[in-house]
C-alpha cells in the first residue's frame, strides 16, 4: 500500500535518458561549468491550495556534479557510521539517513546559510549539508573532543549555529514549533530569510505541529514545514499511523506540495518555490516522498515491518545517487570512470576523517560541568558523590 510509485518507474527511467536541452558534443571541464541545462523532474508536483511550480528545473553541470559528490559523501559517511556502531565505537542511538540524501542536498541548492534548518534525530547528513565536516560528525558520534558538540551531544544533537543549523532534536515533533520560532525571529529581525523545519511521517501526527502551524499561519511566519515521508515511523507504516497520509494536505488552510524526495532537482525546485512563497504568504508544507534503506536506528534491522524486496526495489528504481549518475552520464557531463574516481575520493575522505576522529581524545572530566549554563554565576554542581565531586559553574 505504501509503494504504488514502483509501478510507474519504467516511464521515469525513459525520461532520464532523453535530455531536453541539446547536449554538448564536446566534453567540457566538469567541475566549474555553469552552462544552464533544463531537466524535468521525475514526476510533476502535486499541490494543495496553491499552484505547483513547473517540473522543468534549471541546473548546470557544476551543480549536478556537486549533487553527485555530496550525496556520495553522505552515503559513504552513513555506511561507515553503521560499521563504527557495530564495532561499538558509536554508542546509544544512531539513526542513518542513507536513501534520503537528495532532500538534504536539493534543499541546500535552493537556499543560503542565512536560511535556517532544524530537524530531528536523523541529522548527520543535514549537518554536513550545512557545512559541517566529516571529522566533526565522526568525532561527535564517538564522543570525542573534536565533535561538533565536543562529544557532549551525540548522534541526535549536532548543531552548527554559524550556518543557522539548529539541530538535531531527540523529542519527536518538538523541532517543528522550534522551527516556527526560528521563523518568528527571522520575521522579527526583518531578515528576509526563511526556516525549513523537517519532520518525519511519524512526527506529522504530533499535536504541537498543528499548534505551531496555526500560529505560523496567523502571524504569517516564513516557516516551511518539510515532511520527510519515508513511509515508516520507526516500525509503523504510515497507513497504520495516519488516517490521512496525504501529509502535504494536512495543513488544511496552509498550502502544500508533494515532491519526489529521491530527485534532488525536484527537491531544489520545491524548496525554491517554498522560500518565495513563505517570504510573501507565510507557512507552506512540503512533503518529500523519500525512503531510508536502514532501519529506524541501528537497533532496528528494518526488515521486520518491510520486505527486502521493497528495500531493494527502491534502491534499484529510485536511488537518488544513481539518478544523478544517469543524468550526468546521459548528458555527457562526466565519464563513468570520473564518477567512480569521485566515489573513491569520497571514500578516502571518509576513511581519513574516521582515522582522525579516532585520534581525538574523549572530553576532560571537568567538561562534565561545563556549559550547564551560559552564565554560571558561581553556582555549585555535583557529581554522583557530592562529597567527592563538586564544581563551581563559571
Amino acid at each position: 500500500m505504501a509503494l504504488s510509485y514502483l509501478r510507474s518507474s519504467s516511464s521515469r527511467s525513459a525520461n532520464l535518458l532523453r535530455p531536453l536541452s541539446s547536449a554538448a558534443s564536446l566534453r567540457r571541464p566538469i567541475s566549474t561549468d555553469t552552462t544552464p541545462i533544463t531537466i524535468e523532474t521525475s514526476v510533476p508536483f502535486t499541490s494543495h491550495q496553491c499552484e505547483a511550480p513547473s517540473r522543468s528545473v534549471e541546473t548546470n553541470p557544476s551543480e549536478l556534479l556537486t549533487f553527485f559528490r555530496d550525496m556520495a559523501l553522505m552515503r559513504r559517511m552513513e555506511i561507515a557510521a553503521d560499521s563504527l556502531y557495530k564495532a561499538k565505537l558509536i554508542r546509544g542511538f544512531c539513526h542513518l539517513y542513507d536513501g534520503q540524501e537528495a532532500v538534504a542536498v536539493g534543499m541546500e541548492a535552493a537556499i543560503t546559510k542565512k536560511d535556517c534548518i532544524i530537524t530531528a534525530y536523523r541529522d548527520h547528513c543535514t549537518f554536513v549539508g550545512r557545512g559541517g565536516t566529516l571529522l566533526e560528525v565522526f568525532a561527535e558520534l564517538m564522543g570525542r573532543q573534536a565533535g561538533c558538540s565536543k562529544g557532549k551531544g551525540g548522534s541526535m544533537h549536532f548543531y552548527k549555529k554559524d550556518s543557522n543549523f539548529y539541530g538535531g532534536h531527540g523529542i519527536v515533533g518538538a523541532q517543528v514549533p522550534l522551527g516556527c520560532g526560528l521563523a518568528f525571529a527571522q520575521k522579527y529581525s526583518k531578515d528576509e530569510s526563511v526556516t525549513f523545519a523537517l519532520y518525519g511521517d511519524g512526527a506529522a501526527n504530533q499535536g504541537q505541529l498543528f499548534e505551531a502551524l496555526n500560529i505560523s499561519a496567523l502571524w504569517d511566519l516564513p516557516a516551511i514545514l518539510v515532511c520527510e515521508n519515508n513511509h515508516y515511523g520507526m516500525g509503523t507504516a504510515e497507513w497504520r499511523a495516519a488516517k490521512s497520509p496525504a501529509y502535504y494536505k494536512r495543513g488544511d488552510y496552509v498550502p502544500g506540495l508533494k515532491v519526489d524526495g529521491m530527485d534532488a532537482l525536484a527537491v531544489k525546485q520545491a524548496c525554491k518555490f517554498a522560500k518565495e512563497h513563505a517570504l510573501k504568504n507565510g507557512p507552506i508544507i512540503l512533503e518529500m516522498d523519500t525512503y531510508r534503506y536502514h532501519g529506524h536506528s541501528m537497533s532496528d534491522p528494518g526488515s521486520t515491518y518491510r520486505t527486502r524486496d521493497e528495500i531493494s526495489g527502491v534502491r534499484q528504481e529510485r536511488d537518488p545517487i544513481e539518478r544523478v549518475r544517469k543524468l550526468i552520464l546521459s548528458h555527457d557531463l562526466a565519464t563513468e570512470k570520473e564518477l567512480k574516481d569521485i566515489e573513491k575520493e569520497v571514500r578516502k575522505e571518509v576513511d581519513d576523517a574516521i582515522a582522525q576522529a579516532k585520534e581525538s581524545p574523549m572530553p576532560e572530566p571537568s567538561e562534565l560541568f561545563s556549559n550547564v549554563y551560559a552564565k554560571g554565576l558561581g553556582a555549585e554542581s555535583f557529581g554522583a558523590d557530592r562529597k567527592e565531586l563538586r564544581a563551581t559553574l563559571a
Binding site: 539548529y166 514549533p177 522550534l178 562529597k387
Partner: protein, 367 residues
Amino acid sequence: MLGVVRKKMLGQSLLKIRPAVSVLRSYSSSAKHMTVRDALNSALDEEMSADQKVFLMGEEVGEYQGAYKISKGLLEKYGPERVLDTPITEAGFAGIAVGAAYHGLKPVVEFMTFNFSMQAIDHIINSAAKSNYMSAGQMSVPIVFRGPNGAAAGVGAQHSQCYAAWYASCPGLKVLTPYSSEDARGLLKAAIRDPDPVVFLENELLYGESFSVSDEVLDSSFCLPIGKAKIERVGRDVTITAFSKMVGHALKAAEILEKDGIDAEVINLRSIRPLDRSTINASVRKTNRLITAEEGFPQHGVGAEICASVVEESFAYLDAPVERIAGADVPMPYAANLERLAVPQVEDIVRAAKRACYRSVPLAAAA
C-alpha cells in the same frame, strides 16, 4: 472586531505612554510603595524599552492587558509585534518562543498559571534547559517563562500546584521566586537579562500586595543577583527558610515567636535554583535550628533539598531535627475549611519553630 480595528491603529505608531508607576519616580525622601503587580509591569516595561530583542508572548497579554493585568499598557506602548496574544496552545507557543530564543531574541513567555506549563514542559526542559549543554555552548537560550504559581484561593486541585521543586531539580534552568516588590522588579530584570532559561514563579495572591521601595529599587538599572537569598529578618534562635507567599507567613510567625522569646531568622530564598546553600548553612550554623516553609507538595520538595544540604554541610551544628512545613500531601480541595488545612498557615510555622526549640512536645503521628 475591536481587535481588528485596534491592530490597524497600532500598526504604525509606537506612542510612548508613561506607565502609571511614573508618578512614584519623584526621588523625594518620603517612603514610596509599589504593588507587586506594578513592580512586574514596570520591570517588563523597562527591559522592553532597553532591549529591542525582548518581547512578550502569552494568552491575553495584549488586548486583555494581561489575565492578571501584569502586562497592562505594554501592547499600546510596544505594539503587536512585541506583545503577542497567543491561542490557547502552550506546547506550540512555548516551542515557538524557545525557537526564537535559539535565534537570538529574548522572549518572555507568560503562562496564565504554571499549571498550564505542564502542557509545554517538554520545551522548557528538553528544548530550553538542556540545549546549551548538549551543544557544548553553541545554543544558549535567553528565555523567561513567568506566571503565577502555587495556590490562589478556591481554585481547586488542577489550578493550585506549586512547580518550584519540579523545575528546580533540572540542571540548566534557573528558578526564581520573588516575594516583595523589590524582589519582583530586581529578579525579573535579572531574569530577562540572563542568557539562560529562567522559570519565574510569581504568586497571584501577592500581585495586589504593596511593599515599600527605595529609590534604588525604582531606578531602571536596578537588578538583583540570581542565586542569592535575602535575610529578611535577622535572628538568633531558629532559621526559617521560605519563598514567595510563605515569606510573609514566616515573618508573621517570627513576630508571634518573638513574644514567646524565640528570635527567628527569616530567609527569603529568592532563588530556588541556584539555591543559596551558603546563606542557609551560615544561618543554621548560627541558630542551630531550621524550619523550611513552602506551599508545594512535601515529598521531594524544596524543603527536602534544603534539609539534605544542611545535614550534609552543617550536621554538627544542628541541635534539633530539621522541620518541614509544606502543603498537605493531597490534591488541593475546594471547600474553604479543607483548603485551609491543605495550605500552610502561620500557626503551622510557629508550632514547628517551638518544636525545634523544644518548647512543645510533637503529637504522635495519626494513622
